[in-house]
């Protein structure tokens, strides 16, 4: 019991750094969730291009980023690019790396969902006189977003959990600060247990928000 008391005293003393790390985690999470979704939509749009070469390049992009570990990409940019004279901040590397990776996954979810759209609706939109971009924006995208919602929300959860790897490129987010705390008080079990519980709490909040969003954007009436 005394052990836990002194542990929480350590946490309390280190609280400003932990809070700062948590803020950095949430900042990165919020940015890559938005940029990853926008990037995924752009990649998805390119994947529907009538131009065969554009489609192939897009497929190559998706395969490359899904097939490459994110940490390799982050190290390549953070440790590799300076050798070519390009220096990026840890946050910039994290945002760019995550965005390219998450965009590929989101595009894949959207492409799978696209197969669930009735082709006659797209033909009807063209027959009404909508442009290609309007058909995408008004018919294709709203439906694919709805159909891909479970995959997209799972990706949001992964964004939060995976953000913990960016401590490896010197971005001082929550996990990095908890590691620092563990290195100070040597209470590894307690520190990482607390770290896991905080991530679980954050993920639970994201799950609740995601399920609420799914219910809102996917009314029972248009599920079939």
């Amino acid at each position: 019991m005394t052990g836990w008391l002194s542990f929480f005293q350590d946490v309390f003393e280190y609280w400003p750094q932990i809070l700062g790390g948590l803020g950095n985690t949430l900042l990165l999470f919020a940015i890559v969730t938005v940029t990853g979704l926008i990037g995924g939509i752009l990649v998805f749009y390119q994947a529907l291009s009538p131009n065969r070469h554009v489609r192939r390049i897009t497929e190559g992009y998706i395969s490359f980023f899904i097939g490459t570990p994110l940490i390799v990409l982050l190290f390549l940019m953070y440790y590799g690019l300076p050798q070519t004279g390009i220096h990026l901040s840890p946050l910039a590397v994290a945002v760019i790396g995550f965005t390219m990776n998450v965009a590929a996954y989101n595009a894949r979810y959207l492409m799978s969902a696209y197969n669930g759209i009735d082709a006659s609706e797209l033909e009807a939109a063209r027959a009404q006189g909508f442009s290609t971009l309007q058909v995408f924006r008004l018919v294709t995208l709203p439906q694919t977003l709805r159909l891909a919602m479970p995959g997209l929300t799972n990706q949001v959860i992964l964004n939060l959990k995976d953000s913990s790897i960016v401590f490896l490129i010197q971005y001082t987010e929550f996990f990095a600060q908890m590691q620092e705390l563990a290195a100070r008080n040597f209470q590894y079990f307690k520190v990482y247990l607390l770290t896991g519980l905080v991530y679980l709490l954050l993920v639970s909040l994201v799950v609740l928000a995601a399920r609420w969003l799914e219910r809102r954007v996917l009314p029972a009436a248009c599920r079939t």
Binding site: D118, S120, E121, E123, A124, A125, R126, A127, Q128, G129, F130, S131, Q134, L138, V139, P142, Q143, R146, P219, A221, C222, R223, T224
Partner: protein
Amino acid sequence: MLLQVRQLTKSFDDKTILRGVDLDLAEGQLKVIMGPSGCGKSTLLRCLNRLIEPSSGQVIFRGKDVLQPGTDVRALRQQIGFVFQQFALYRHLSALHNVTLALRKLRGMSVREAHAKAMHELGRMNMAEHADQYPAQLSGGQKQRVAIARALAMDPAVLFFDEPTSALDPLMSREVVSVIKQLQLDNVTMLCVTHDPFLAKSIADRVMFLDEGVVRAEGTVAEIFGAHADPRIRDFFAHEHSAA
């Protein structure tokens, strides 16, 4: 003449679907195009608004050949209402929003104007009370009536129907037939593709018989459905009659 088609052909790779089709459609006329499955009926309809690009020929709509380069295809399509076999309603939108979407995004109407116009057209189709329902909540006949309201809302010069009753049971088919008859009374110009003799007999001013991409005959309902000289046409109707 609202629409004149001359020597229209369409080939996909080495397969020719339409072979020199001629067609005239006058203002206020309802012409039915019949023929066996795969004869090119639906392809013909899609060539007329360039959902499918014809290989050669002329499509003269309101005096202008719309196959010429420089034609504003989107403007052309906005003048042609299209009703599909499978209804093709946007399933993420309510019946009302299915009708208002093009009014707002293509005609630039305000929400209020588009709403009023859509409710008028839905009312005309006896669908006003279902305006807030989604396609999945409607019967087949109701969906088709919303699809017709969506097409009519754009005040098209002509309405195209592609097998409007083939996805419906007989009761719902009769609903759609009565709607088309009402439009006929309102002097709406229509071109309807079907292989349903009941529908053709109920609504057609004139019937065109298409077979293997060629117009085999054209005439009144009595001329085409009677003891026609062409054995292919006689066989078709004998088969359709026994199938029904």
